[in-house]
Symmetry: C2
DNA sequence: CTTTATTAAGATAAAATACTCTTAAATAGG
DNA sequence: CCTATTTAAGAGTATTTTATCTTAATAAAG
């Protein structure tokens, strides 16, 4: 089950690297992130540009420039990042692609899928980047390999 | 959240049309399915060929030929069809694409994703095509629009 | 003012996915 | 045997996604 595009996967990994390695009032360079995670610098740059446009990140050009979170990490929920990367309608899609699938005209797998989406959405909405950053820092979870 | 490719979406819809319109010992033509669901005949034909190779369907060429389920509908679980369409490793993927993500080296969203996958997998494993066909026939759920 | 480090922007290329078309093979029925 | 109907097979095309490359803009520091 592939629930995220490459943009979503790389974008999430990159932003999680950022929150896991906070640098007090400074910007982190995209090069550092892409090198450490072994992801394409240009691809990550493009993804971050979108996240900057959407107000998740702020960026600064020039020496010692880079990107940073637009808000404190405890005020950005995982769901905000996922929706910014994959689209605001991320949790609104019918599994088998029926455009009018919903309570009035449910598709044959509507209930299963709804249950699944609600569960994931809840988890994402309750989890902040700060929480995930802390988990990575304490090595409870990993971001490489 | 797009969990199925077009092949998966169309394939599922097509096979659900088949189980919802059973025709006692006869084959159903692919043309009837593609016309009714307004899907590409050639595309569905290709998808069905794969499902035939994988033992989900049987096919018969010539006049009054078509396709049929290889087993009674109550002996084919939704999960069998989904895995045939999307790959046997459908439920084994890390959300953010880390190749070694697992119990030993969990990624930051491993637990959420695992929970989500298990729930959907359970629902799919417990649901037979017969059950879904019956739901469609009684118009409890819909397959068009 | 010049150099260097950095992101922004967009063009381009490559790869994967989605879809279409053509021809072949099988089989029923006249 | 001939024709019509149907799936099989695979080539071909289109679209989308993924990734790369080039140039511009910004800003720090000497």
């Amino acid at each position: 089950m592939k629930a995220l595009s490459q943009v979503g996967k790389y974008g999430l990994r990159a932003i999680l690297y950022l929150v896991a390695n906070p640098s007090e009032g400074q910007y982190m360079s995209i090069r550092q992130i892409s090198d450490n995670l072994k992801l394409s610098f240009h691809f990550i740059t493009k993804i971050f540009r979108e996240l900057t446009e959407k107000g998740i990140l702020i960026s600064y050009r020039g020496p010692s420039g880079g990107i940073a979170l637009a808000k404190p990490a405890d005020q950005i929920m995982l769901i905000d990042v996922v929706k910014a990367l994959e689209g605001e309608d991320y949790f609104d899609k019918c599994l088998i692609g029926l455009p009018h699938c919903g309570i009035a005209k449910p598709c044959p797998v509507h209930e299963f899928w709804k249950e699944t989406k609600i569960q994931l959405q809840k988890n994402f909405a309750e989890t902040s980047l700060a929480t995930l950053g802390e988990k990575i820092r304490t090595q409870e979870v990993r971001l490489d390999e």
